[in-house]
C-alpha cells in the first residue's frame, strides 16, 4: 500500500510544482496577482505533500515495510529505530526526498519573509524555486523513486551500510543539504534580478542572511564529514581530496568568495556581473556535486549509485548553466560598474584578491577532480589525481587567503594612507614576527608550519587590535568594559560576527597545521602483555575478547595506555563483523585532547587472543578543527542577528 500511496503523493506534488512555476512566470509577465496567490497556495501544497511523502517513508522504515525497495535496501530487522529514521537519507532516493523537502521549506520561508518586501523579484524567485522543486520531484518519479515496490517481499532487509551507523551520519547529510539547498535562494534572487533587469544591490541585501546561513550549513556539513571520516574510517585523517569531498568544497569556495564580494557591490556599486556570476557558479557547483555523487561518472569512495539519474542531473545542470549564462549575456550592458578601483592599496583590492584566490582554488579543485575524465577522453589513459596535487596547489592559495583575512577588514576603502597602514598593521606585524621567532625557538623547523602559525598570529592580532580600539572608544564615552564589548558585538553584529567567523577559521587553520606537521603513527604486532611506544606514550596489549553485540559480532582488544607512568587510560579498538558485509569494519577507539589525540585501529588478530596487530597514532591538535567549528557557529549567529537600527 505504502509504495503506491507514496508514488501518488510524489506525482501530485510534481504536477503542483510545475503548475506553480508556470503560474509564477505568467504572473511575473502579466502582473496578475490572483495567479501569484494561486502559486503561493501551490507552494504550500507542495510542501505539505513532500512532508507527507517523507513521513510515509519514515513510517515504512519504522514498521519494516520491506515491500518498499528502499526500506529493504537500507534496513534490516536488527537496525535500531534511530538509524531507521535517519536511513531516510542514508542512500540516494531518500536523500532526494530530503533535498526536495528542504527546497519546499525554503520556498515557504521565502513566501513568509519576502512576499511584501521584494515585490519586484518575488514572482521570478518563486518561479525558480518551483523549477528546482519540479526537477527534484521528477527525479523522485522516474530515475530514483523512493517508493519503488519490491516483489517478492523479502523476509529481511539488507541493512544500512555499517559505516553509516554513526551519529555523524545522522547530522552530516542534513547540514550539507541545508547548505546546498540554501544556495538555491540567492540563486533564485540573482535570476530574478537578471529577469527584471534590476541588477542593483537590492537582491544582494535581501539575500545576505540566506547566503550566510547556507554558507554556515555547508561549512558545518564539511566539518561533520571530516569528523565522521576521522573517527569512523580509521585512517586517521579528516580530508582526502576525494572527488565527492571536492564536490562539496567547491561551492563552499565560491560561496565564500560571494559573501565577500557582495560587500564591495553594496559599498562601491562595483562587481555586479561578478556577483551574479559567483551565485550562478555556486548553485551550479552544488548541482555538479550532486551529479558527481549520483552519476558514477567519476570513481569515488562516496559514489551512491548509477543509472539514468546521472543523465537527468546533467540535463538539469546544463539547463541551469546555459540558461543563467544566457540571461547574464543578455543583461550584459546593465552589469557595468558604477564605481572604479581607486588604488591597489585599498580594501576593494584586498577583497578582489581574496575573490581571485578563492576562484583560482575552485578551478584547481575542479580541474583535479575532472582530470581523470579529461585524460580518458583525450588520451584514453586512466589516471587518478591524489592529495599531493591538491595540497601543492592549494596550500599557498589558502595561506595567502589567511593573510588577506587580517588585511581586508582593517585596510581603508578607496585608498589606504600610510597613516592607516601604520595605525592598523604595525602591531600585528610585530606580533606575527614575534610568534614566528618563538615557534622557531621552540624547535619547529618546518617552514610551512612556522609560516602558517605566524600568519595566524598576525591575523588574530589584527582582529584584536581592531576590537580593542573600538572598545577603548566606547570606554572614553563612559561605558563599562563589558557593556562596551557586548554592545560592540551586538550593535556592529555584522562586522564582529564576521570577525568571530574569521577567528573560527584561524583555529581550524592551527588544527590543520598542527595535525599535518606533527602527527605520528606506527604499526605493530604484539603478543599479549607486550607494548608499543609512540611519542612518549606506551600502549600495552592486555586482552582480546569476542561477543555478539546487537546487530553485529564484535572482536574487541583492550590496551592500557600510559604516559611516563602517570595517567592510565584504556583504549578498546575493535573489529565489527556484520552479517551483510563481507569484510569486517574497523571500530576506531580514541581519546581526544587539546594537543594529543590517541587513536588506535585494530588490524589482524590471532583467534586465540594471543596476538594482535594495531595501528597506533598520536594526532596533534586535531581537536582545534572541531572547536573552530563551534566558534564558527557563534560567529554566524552573531552575523545574522536582526539589525538594531531600523532603516529610515
Amino acid at each position: 500500500m505504502i509504495p503506491e500511496l507514496g508514488y501518488g503523493v510524489v506525482i501530485v506534488a510534481m504536477l503542483l510544482a510545475l503548475y506553480g512555476g508556470v503560474a509564477s512566470v505568467v504572473s511575473a509577465r502579466t502582473g496578475r496577482t490572483a495567479l501569484l496567490e494561486s502559486a503561493q497556495h501551490a507552494a504550500i501544497g507542495v510542501f505539505a505533500l513532500v512532508t507527507c511523502a517523507m513521513l510515509l517513508l519514515v513510517y515504512a522504515f519504522l514498521t519494516f515495510d520491506f515491500s518498499v525497495r528502499y526500506v529493504a535496501m537500507n534496513t534490516n530487522l536488527a537496525t535500531p529505530y534511530y538509524y531507521r529514521i535517519t536511513a531516510l537519507w542514508g542512500a540516494l532516493e531518500g536523500s532526494i526526498i530530503l533535498w526536495a523537502w528542504m527546497v519546499a521549506l525554503y520556498t515557504l520561508i521565502i513566501i513568509i519573509r519576502h512576499r511584501h518586501n521584494a515585490r519586484e523579484f518575488y514572482p521570478w524567485v518563486l518561479a525558480v524555486m518551483f523549477g528546482v522543486l519540479t526537477f527534484f520531484l521528477l527525479v523522485m518519479t522516474i530515475p530514483a523513486p523512493p517508493f519503488e515496490r519490491l516483489t517478492p517481499i523479502p523476509a529481511n532487509g539488507r541493512g544500512l551500510n555499517p559505516l553509516l551507523e554513526d551519529s555523524g551520519m545522522i547530522t552530516h547529510p542534513v547540514a550539507l543539504y541545508l547548505g546546498f539547498t540554501g544556495f538555491t535562494v540567492p540563486f533564485a534572487f540573482a535570476i530574478a534580478a537578471l529577469a527584471t533587469g534590476r541588477v542593483g544591490d537590492r537582491w544582494i541585501t535581501l539575500t545576505r542572511r540566506w547566503t550566510v546561513v547556507a554558507w554556515y550549513f555547508l561549512s558545518l556539513g564539511l566539518l561533520i564529514g571530516g569528523w565522521w571520516s576521522y573517527h569512523v574510517l580509521g585512517w586517521g585523517g579528516y580530508w582526502a581530496w576525494d572527488p565527492v569531498e571536492n564536490a562539496a568544497f567547491m561551492p563552499w569556495l565560491t560561496g565564500t568568495a560571494f559573501l565577500h564580494s557582495v560587500m564591495i557591490q553594496e559599498r562601491r556599486r562595483m562587481l555586479k556581473l561578478w556577483n551574479i556570476g559567483l551565485v550562478i557558479m555556486t548553485f551550479s557547483l552544488t548541482l555538479f556535486g550532486t551529479f558527481l555523487t549520483r552519476s558514477g561518472v567519476i570513481a569515488s569512495v562516496h559514489a551512491f549509485s548509477q543509472g539514468s539519474i546521472g543523465a537527468f542531473f546533467l540535463a538539469f545542470l546544463g539547463t541551469v548553466v546555459l540558461g543563467s549564462l544566457w540571461l547574464l549575456a543578455w543583461r550584459w550592458e546593465d552589469l557595468g560598474a558604477e564605481g572604479e578601483l581607486d588604488s591597489v592599496v585599498s580594501r576593494e583590492s584586498a577583497f578582489l584578491l581574496n575573490n581571485v584566490l578563492l576562484v583560482a582554488a575552485t578551478f584547481t579543485v575542479f580541474f583535479g577532480t575532472v582530470f581523470p575524465l579529461l585524460s580518458e577522453a583525450v588520451r584514453g589513459v586512466k589516471v587518478s589525481v591524489g592529495a599531493p596535487f591538491f595540497n601543492q596547489v592549494n596550500v599557498p592559495l589558502f595561506l595567502s587567503l589567511v593573510v588577506l583575512m587580517g588585511v581586508g577588514p582593517l585596510i581603508a576603502w578607496r585608498r589606504a594612507s600610510a597613516e592607516n597602514l601604520r595605525r592598523n598593521f604595525v602591531w600585528p606585524v610585530v606580533i606575527g614576527l614575534a610568534a614566528a621567532a618563538i615557534i622557531f625557538a621552540l624547535g619547529v623547523r618546518s617552514t610551512l608550519a612556522v609560516f602558517s602559525l605566524a600568519v595566524t598570529a598576525f591575523v588574530s592580532a589584527c582582529i584584536g587590535v581592531d576590537f580593542l580600539r573600538a572598545t577603548r572608544a566606547r570606554l572614553r564615552v563612559g561605558e563599562g568594559i563589558f557593556p562596551a564589548m557586548g554592545g560592540l558585538l551586538v550593535r556592529q553584529n555584522r562586522r564582529y560576527g564576521g570577525f568571530v567567523i574569521h577567528l573560527g577559521i584561524l583555529i581550524i587553520v592551527v588544527g590543520i597545521t598542527g595535525s599535518q606537521a606533527w602527527s605520528v603513527q606506527r604499526e605493530a604486532t604484539l603478543q599479549k602483555g607486550q607494548a608499543v611506544e609512540l611519542a612518549g606514550y606506551k600502549f600495552q596489549f592486555d586482552a582480546l575478547s569476542a561477543r555478539e553485540n546487537g546487530n553485529h559480532f564484535l572482536v574487541e582488544s583492550t590496551f592500557k595506555v600510559t604516559n611516563g607512568g602517570a595517567a592510565t587510560r584504556e583504549l578498546r579498538p575493535a573489529k565489527k563483523f556484520y552479517p551483510q558485509e563481507q569484510s569486517p569494519i574497523a571500530h576506531v577507539d580514541y581519546h581526544l585532547g587539546w594537543v594529543d589525540d590517541l587513536y588506535m585501529v585494530l588490524g589482524d588478530f590471532a583467534r586465540d587472543g594471543s596476538q594482535a596487530t594495531v595501528k597506533v597514532q598520536v594526532n596533534r591538535m586535531v581537536s582545534w578543527i572541531w572547536f573552530g567549528g563551534l566558534i564558527l557557529t557563534f560567529g554566524t549567529i552573531l552575523a545574522i542577528l536582526p539589525d538594531r537600527k531600523k532603516p529610515a
Partner: protein, 176 residues
Amino acid sequence: VKRGWKWLIPAAALPVLLLLAYGFKVNHRDIPSPLVDRPAAKFTLTSYAGEPMSLEAQRGKVVVLNFWASWCYPACYEEAPVLERGWRAFKERGVVVMGVDIQDKAEAGKKFINDFSLTFPNALDPTGRVSVEYGVYGVPETFFIDAKGHIRAKHVGAVTEEVFRRQVERLLAEQG
C-alpha cells in the same frame, strides 16, 4: 563585434558539459582484471544437486562462471533470474552457466536456488579456495570463459540481460 563576444560566456560552458556527458561512456564496472586472457583456474566442487561440478568437464563450451551468495542483496537477487533465462536461452548452443556460492551456509544457498528455481549447476565453495583463485573481492562477480578455457571478461556487479547476451554472443561467434 564587441557586443557579440558576450555570447561566448554561455558557449564556454559547453565543453565542460560535454566532458561530463562523456563520463557516461566510461564504465567503472569494467574492472580490468589481470586474469583476462589467461587460462581459467581449474576446480572441482560438489554441486547442490550432489554432482561433481568442474570447469574441466566443460572444455569446448562457453562458460559463464558466476560468484554469488544468498546474503548478497540486492545485486545477486537481481541477476539470478537473468542468469537463469540466459542459461535456458543459450544451453542448446553450447553455453554453460555455473554458479559458485561463496561464504555462505548450505541451507541458505539451497533456499536461494529454490526461490529462484535455478536449473543450472550451483555449488558451495566451502573453503573459499575457488573464489581466492579467481580473485573475487565482492559478490556478485561473473567471469566469461571461452571454449578454450581462457577467461575473456570479468563483470563486477549484477549481470544484466544486455551484458550476458553481448559477452556470450561474442565468444560463440569466435568459435564459428
